[in-house]
């Protein structure tokens, strides 16, 4: 997993609430047996019309956001299925940070395992970011170490994050190797409960 600390980019304003994992990555693309290559299918049914043509109105098709690595959306982002294909698609497409007022639990967990930083800001703060980002491209500077999001106009927001997951992201740790250090405890538990 790639470590993550500072991320600078214009934000992509995704003006939707309850964005579900079926939208993030539709089931027809779940049949791959690899972890990579899902980015081109991200938000497929919003990016493309039924006839396969590009939906010009969808924000990901807006040239100004093509290089963006920060996605901002409304509450309950990532609800629905447990498919990790959703964060894989987000990461593979190029996003490293997702900002929303709230995330569904499994999606939130899945982000940390893949080096994506999910940031919770208040509803008001997210609405402010979305409004700015929709009016004109608006750049953000995210700093995980300091737990801040700083807008190009100097407006700064701070966020909280579980210290354990913060370390994992900052260091790009492989959680399984970490857990192997607790082998003794696992073996003891198994013995006790055998």
């Amino acid at each position: 997993m790639k470590p993550i600390n500072e991320v600078r980019s214009v934000l992509t304003p995704l003006d939707h609430k309850n964005v579900d994992t079926d939208q993030i990555i539709s089931k027809e693309f779940l049949k791959r047996i690899e972890r990579t290559g899902f980015g081109k299918y991200l938000f497929h049914h919003w990016r493309y019309n039924a006839d396969g043509s590009v939906n010009e109105k969808f924000v990901l098709n807006d040239e100004r956001f093509k290089e963006s690595t920060i996605l901002v959306a409304h509450d309950n982002f990532g609800c629905g299925s447990s498919r990790e294909h959703a964060p894989w698609a987000i990461l593979d497409y190029g996003f490293q940070v997702v900002i929303a007022p709230s995330f569904a639990d499994i999606f939130h967990n899945n982000c940390f395992k893949n080096g994506i930083l999910p940031i919770r800001l208040s509803v008001g703060e997210v609405e402010e970011l979305l409004a700015k980002g929709k009016a004109a491209p608006y750049a953000l500077e995210v700093n995980l170490e300091q737990q801040t999001v700083r807008g190009e106009d100097g407006k700064t927001y701070s966020f909280t994050i579980d210290p354990y997951y913060k370390q994992m992201l900052l260091n790009g740790w492989d959680e399984i190797s970490l857990t192997f250090q607790y082998e003794e405890h696992i073996a003891a538990y198994e013995q006790q409960h055998a």
Binding site: K31, I33, H74, S81, S82, S102, Y164, E175, T179, Y189
Partner: protein, 469 residues
């Protein structure tokens, strides 16, 4: 101190705890299926790791499998997932109910059926509807593929202790109202993220009088309320269901286990972080009209209007949903025509669900403009239903009777609802495109879906039942 079942089960699975860290939890049962496991096994292989406890893992094939013309899978990529799971289970020594095995079925249906699911266990699966198993008083939740790999290698997971929530269903259910209506009403009332960060215990008189199959329907959809997991304290109903199942202890050992299970129930006076209540008697047969499971109403209602909502973003969400669903504000639900009926999924494809549907359609015909299919949740359910002659009732009415699998619940196989067409479905998600690109899903109980199949539109099943009687 009085404890909830949630705390009791959680605490006894802590392998390691430390301030500032999630708890390291031991996992008692790991269920696997073909869609969310291949990358996890590949990860093991790349890192040269083994499966720590193949004996605590169990796999089946459900998401991709065809429901007719077995065993031929037309789709080469789906076929690859199936053969990959076979190879992985062989290589790592995991028991597999493969496509043609008599135990095959939807993972959340066969776990309880085989008695793998038991009170007090921690159960995970790379699938969000793992919450189903909570009906037995287990802590059961869905995980991502990285976590699947973590459990395969270590039989543990790092988990922050969720908050506890009680959802109490007071009183008795009315005539013709089912578990599905209850959970849809709960989600409509409290919202699709009410449970975020919580494990929910369902309590109350209505729950106590439910069968295990009904309790599974309730817990199945706790994820649609955003909950980490949903569960129900075990009681005599739980014990009776499990007795003599294949993987439960037998004889005296069973009695011992049963006593332990019953002791897990939430103590009198235990306190939850949050308690919500709903009145069972006020719940009607339910139908969803929108694009998430909270967008639903009792069958006597109309599709809502923007004026029913105070805030702008809710009005906006309603408009988006209705545009997708091809519905107008204020339309009575009973005037909505359908083209498809799907009776199936881990929510509602157990034997009692099929019986409920069969009871409604017996001696009648599917409406000429409707295509209707029944997909039993497992091969065992299918066999039992056939022994009772339910298959005849369905096929004589004009339903197709299929092999078991997830099927049209997520339409990864060939069972797809065409764009712009409407499906009365007993599954759990009505997201855009869930049953096929452009498809329109309405969630409801098996009895309501069966009634819709006959009439070609939504009807209050209670009227049909009365007409029958």
């Amino acid at each position: 101190m009085a404890k909830t079942i949630i705390e009791k089960v959680w605490d006894r699975h802590i392998v390691y705890e430390e301030q500032g860290k999630p708890d390291l939890l031991y996992i008692d049962l790991h269920l696997l299926h073909e869609v969310t496991s291949p990358q996890a096994f590949e990860g093991l292989r790349l890192a040269g790791r083994k499966v720590r406890r193949p004996d605590l893992s169990f796999a089946t094939m459900d998401h991709n499998v065809p429901t007719k013309n077995l065993p031929i899978i037309q789709d080469p990529i789906a076929k690859k997932q199936i053969t990959t799971l076979e190879r992985n289970c062989q290589e790592f020594g995991i028991e597999l109910a493969h496509m043609e095995h008599p135990d095959q079925g939807i993972v959340h249906i066969i776990g309880p059926e085989l008695g793998l699911t038991q009170p007090g266990k921690t159960i995970v699966c790379g699938d969000s509807h793992t919450s189903t198993h909570g009906a037995f008083g287990a802590i059961a939740f869905g995980i991502g593929t990285s976590e699947v790999e973590h459990v395969l290698s270590t039989q543990t997971l790092w988990q922050s202790k969720p908050k506890t929530m009680e959802i109490r269903i007071n009183g008795k259910l009315g005539f013709g109202v089912t578990a599905k209506d209850v959970i849809l009403a709960i989600i409509a009332k409290f919202g699709i993220d009410v449970g975020t960060g919580h494990i929910v215990e369902f309590t109350g008189e209505a729950i106590r009088s439910m069968t295990m199959e009904e309790r599974m329907t309730i817990c199945n959809m706790s994820i649609e309320a955003g909950a980490k997991a949903g569960l129900i304290s075990p009681d005599q109903t739980t014990v009776d269901y499990l007795r003599d199942r294949r993987y439960v202890p037998k004889g005296a050992a069973f009695e011992e286990a049963a006593a332990e299970w019953l002791a897990l129930a939430t103590d009198e006076g235990a306190v939850y972080d949050t308690t919500l209540e709903i009145d069972a008697a006020a719940i009607e047969p339910f139908v969803t009209w929108g694009t998430n499971p909270s967008m639903g109403s009792g069958i006597s209602a109309n599709v809502p209007s923007a004026d029913d909502f105070a805030n702008e973003s809710d009005k906006e969400a309603l408009k988006k949903a209705l545009a997708y669903m091809g519905l107008s504000e204020g339309t009575p639900l009973t005037q909505i025509d359908i083209q498809h009926v799907f009776i199936g999924s881990c929510t509602n494809a157990r034997l009692s669900d099929l019986r409920n549907a069969a009871e409604v359609i017996a001696g009648q015909k599917v409406h000429p403009s409707v295509t209707a299919i029944v997909v039993p949740g497992s091969r065992t359910v299918k066999k039992q239903a056939e022994e009772e002659g339910l298959d005849k009732i369905f096929t004589e009415a004009g339903f197709e009777w299929r092999e078991s699998g997830c099927s049209m619940c997520l339409a990864m196989n060939d069972d797809v609802v065409p764009a712009g067409e409407r499906c009365a479905s007993t599954s759990n998600r009505n997201f855009e495109g869930r049953q096929g690109a452009g498809s329109r899903t309405h969630l409801m109980s098996p009895a309501m879906a069966a009634a819709a199949a006959i009439k070609g539109r939504f009807v209050d099943v209670r009227e049909m039942k009365l007409a029958h009687a």
